[in-house]
Symmetry: C2
DNA sequence: ATACCGTTATGACTTTTCTGCATAACGCAT
DNA sequence: ATGCGTTATGCAGAAAAGTCATAACGGTAT
């Protein structure tokens, strides 16, 4: 995620699996955060620049694999409907944010110290 | 890469890009190490459980993107030929190994401290 | 010489995965 | 009733990854 001096770039990825299948990562984190702030899967998908189809698939996969409902959603109604995060989703999000914190900084620091 | 208590598993990935294209990562690291110890791309590919085709593609991509020759190879000759690492490849490998060192341990530690 | 062997080197095909498009259903507002 | 923006899914095409087949190479054994 961070640049270096000579054109090379260090990148890192962090995610959580369940039964060998991905359950949560940075992309899904941004998606849930965007749902929280927009109240809609559709608009959230636009913000994180993925299709609604993909966003929806991610949510379904997360819920199935974790075995808990993360996003309360309604089709039709005021403003056409919408989606909001369940409390469990907010809790999970908080934990994941804490998990990520500092790791990227460490990776970047180490990269610079090694490749110079 | 490490297991946790409740069925969830934290995983992390670290790689280097050039012009937005992946150049080096854990898989390629193991591949180069296997070439070093076996003296052959073919046998190295078997050890890391990928096809020769894929191993060869990885090497070619690495060399093109970094702009340096990493693996000296010969078709035909003693034992049918073989491949050995160039000095630049060994240097790069050493740097990458240093880069990775400790990071996974940190990730795992943080995961446990957060998800309990 | 000639056939053989294990290797590098590639092209072509197959399988899988991902992406985007089309459409339906929903329920409030006008 | 009609319209609107949303959730919800199926499906086809595209793209990526993986597999298979084959050629060329140059020592070695026959």
């Amino acid at each position: 995620m961070q640049k270096s001096h000579n054109g090379m770039e260090i990148r890192s990825k962090l995610w959580i699996e369940m039964d060998g299948e991905p359950v949560f990562g940075r992309g899904r984190r941004f998606l849930l955060e965007a749902i929280e702030s927009h109240g809609s899967i559709n608009q959230a998908a636009k913000e994180v620049d993925i299709s609604f189809r993909k966003a929806w698939s991610h949510i379904k996969a997360m819920e199935e694999r974790l075995g808990i409902k993360l996003v309360a959603r309604q089709a039709g109604g005021k403003n056409g409907g919408g989606a909001t995060l369940m409390d469990d989703a907010r809790k999970f999000l908080k934990k994941y944010e804490a998990l990520e914190k500092g790791i990227q900084a460490l990776v970047d620091k180490r990269f610079r110290s090694v490749f110079e």
